[in-house]
């Protein structure tokens, strides 16, 4: 099956800065694809190139099987990082307008808009002007604007930023609902927990280059440090001199053990020696991996931020 999005060594420069550097990427149909990366690493530029708002300097962008992304544009919904709504327009009119701009018929858009408005608890403000909405409400309106034309691919740039936990859950359920309908979803986020919980695949861009791309399991396997957490009879002393133990951090009741052998081998050796009360292979969280990759090196720390 072809990919919903395929980038092939795409580069984009703004003057002397290279925002995106020879980036290749495949987003499979029907998946939720998470874009992570520090501020200014090229996320939004990449999304804008997928949207055909920016043209790459080199490489090719294929969206929904179409090389000139202009043709596929009508089948892609987009929620930009900063909110773009006409303040003076009534909500329903605005949604109809945005939907019609995607080439959808007015009746279809109106029906879809009403369904989403009631689903997200916004029916009461459908005829109010956008400027009368709270931040959370306008965020949800912006989301509806991105999906009201029933696109096959939805690109959400920071959809959860600035939302309270309740609205965050509402929007998360909405995104999952889209996935159930078969929509491909790409979203960028700074919320690592959200990315871990929702995304089928995660992609990390850092300084314009791809540094992570794969399912959470694959990424954790790559970045796994082969650590286990154990609780055994005899405490830390019982762990001494077992072959394959690189280091032990003794927390008292539990010990964090770094291994140079397969955890299963270590478990067998441990069982021989003492009674095991708890044994857990720990994996690094996405948060830890992100921080490890993006943490500035000491010499970078002293240079001013660009």
């Amino acid at each position: 099956m072809s990919s919903a999005i395929a980038l092939d060594s795409v580069s984009k420069r703004f003057g002397p800065t290279t925002a995106v550097d020879a980036l290749s990427l495949q987003v499979p149909h029907g998946t939720i694809y998470g874009f992570i990366g520090p501020n200014g690493s090229g996320k939004t530029t990449t999304l804008r190139m997928i949207m055909n708002i920016l043209l790459p300097d080199a490489g090719s962008v294929e969206v929904l099987g179409d090389r000139s992304t202009a043709a596929a544009r009508d089948r892609v919904g987009y929620l930009p990082e900063e909110r773009g709504l006409y303040k003076q327009m009534p909500v329903r009119r605005l949604l109809t307008y945005y939907g019609e701009l995607k080439g959808a018929a007015r009746q279809d858009v109106q029906r879809e808009a009403d369904a989403w408005l009631s689903r997200l608890g916004l029916s009461g403000v459908a005829d109010k002007k956008v400027q009368a909405l709270s931040k959370g409400m306008s965020q949800k309106v912006q989301f509806i604007a991105a999906v009201v034309s029933r696109p096959d691919l939805v690109i959400l740039d920071e959809p959860f930023s600035g939302l309270d936990p309740v609205n965050r859950d509402v929007l998360r359920d909405a995104v999952l609902e889209l996935k159930r309908r078969g929509t491909t979803i790409v979203f960028s986020t700074h919320d690592m927990t959200m990315a871990e919980l929702m995304c089928d695949r995660i992609f990390m861009i850092f300084k314009g280059r791809k540094v992570l791309d794969g399912s959470l399991d694959e990424i954790q396997a790559t970045y796994g440090r082969d650590e286990v957490q154990v609780r055994v009879q005899g405490g830390g002393g019982a762990l001494r001199d077992i072959a394959g133990v690189k280091s032990v951090v003794d927390h008292g009741n539990v010990q964090q053990v770094r291994l140079s052998v397969d955890p299963q081998v270590f478990l067998a050796r441990l069982v021989e020696r003492t009674a095991v009360q708890r044994f857990e292979i720990t994996r690094p969280s996405l948060h830890d991996i992100f921080v490890e990759i993006a943490r500035p090196t000491p010499e970078e720390d002293t240079t001013p931020a660009v």
């Binding site: 804008r48 949207m51 055909n52 708002i53 920016l54 202009a70 544009r73 009508d74 892609v76 987009y78 930009p80 990082e81 900063e82 909110r83 773009g84 709504l85 006409y86 303040k87 003076q88 327009m89 009119r93 307008y97 945005y98 019609e100 701009l101 995607k102 080439g103 604007a145």
Partner: protein, 438 residues
Amino acid sequence: MRKVLTIAIAEFEQAVRSRAFIIGLLAVPLLMTGAFFVQSLTARRDTSERRFAIVDRTGVVAPVLVEAARVHNAEARTAAGRVTGPQFLPEVVPPGTQAPEQLRLSLSDRVRRGELFAIVEIPADAMATAAPDAREEDGPRLQYFTEYPTYQALPEWLRREASRAVADRRLSKLGADPAETRRLLEPIPMDRKGLVVRTVEGRVSEAEKVDALRAFAMPAFTMFLLFGLVMSSAPQLLNSVIEEKTSRISEVLLGSVTAFELMLGKLMGSVAVTLLLATIYVGGGLLIAAQADYFGLIQWGLLPWFAFFLLIAIVMYGAMFIAIGAACSEVKDAQGMMMPALVLAMFPLFLWLQVAQNPDSMMSTAVSMFPFATPYLMLLRIAIPPGPPAWQVIVAVLGALALTLAMVWAAGRVLRVGLLMQGKTANYRDMARWIMAR
């Protein structure tokens, strides 16, 4: 094309629904009637009493002025005694024997105290006629002293009445009858007419009388209406582009349409709004003309030209303002950027009188063929009979069309880059670079 229409409809709706549109719609007629009303009100409302001193060194002019003031005051009063104009109250001050400077000072002090409004001095040699070869400033002159140099009614009246009194004396001295002489010097009125033609029946037609209203006011009104319509809608485009840019709507829009489609949609919406306004104003004007029996004054042949030049001007100037909006990242930046554009849009207005008075001069021909001015000045020349030669109209129209297309093309290029540009306002050099970019 469907998307362009969708944008045009949304732009039109937004513009027509906005409070600014309703206010603008009412503002023009309201301002016009208001100004007219206030003017006619204040013109008649000068009913103040102007007490002034006459220092007459001839000894003969003062009594004539006093009598003239009495007649004037009586005329500025209705039969019922209501005052309708300024009342002139002369006070004859005998020159006496004191030095003229002393007298002027004491009278000036009285003006400062508010007892008098002004002083007029009639020099002793007022009756003498200047030598034929003398320059004008050598002759006798009236002296008028006041604290209010801008008040015109009293000095104008004094000059007129004193001149007449002096002229009468001089004529009498020569043995002529002043009243008779004045009648003899009455100017001959002149009728201004158009040319005559041979009618179908073979007779020579009656020449039509050309009145000032038709010859001057109608063309000017047509041109200023065009200007008002263009100025009420084209700069709006600048604001709408800046709003889309600052609130990042442009990003959503560019995810759906190209910058060029967006611009075409905006221009079409703007044209629609202006045509609506024009229909309301022109329709209202025709209605008033019909009511006031001025229907004969209307040059129906001018309507298509008006519509055509309106379209050209809206698109040409609209594209220009869109480009400027795309270059600005804040509304306040637009102020400085707009100046050159406004100068281009306004300079034809400063030339309109010269063009109207001399529509076929070299200067009029040249400026009306300058594409930025063509919509206004060519319309003006067409409105003034007999109108410019056809080749000039054709050249000017082609030039304006070419400029309009070039503006639309250039604005599209500026919009493409400018819409996503945040934080920094581009200057005209940046814009030129965007236009020229590959």
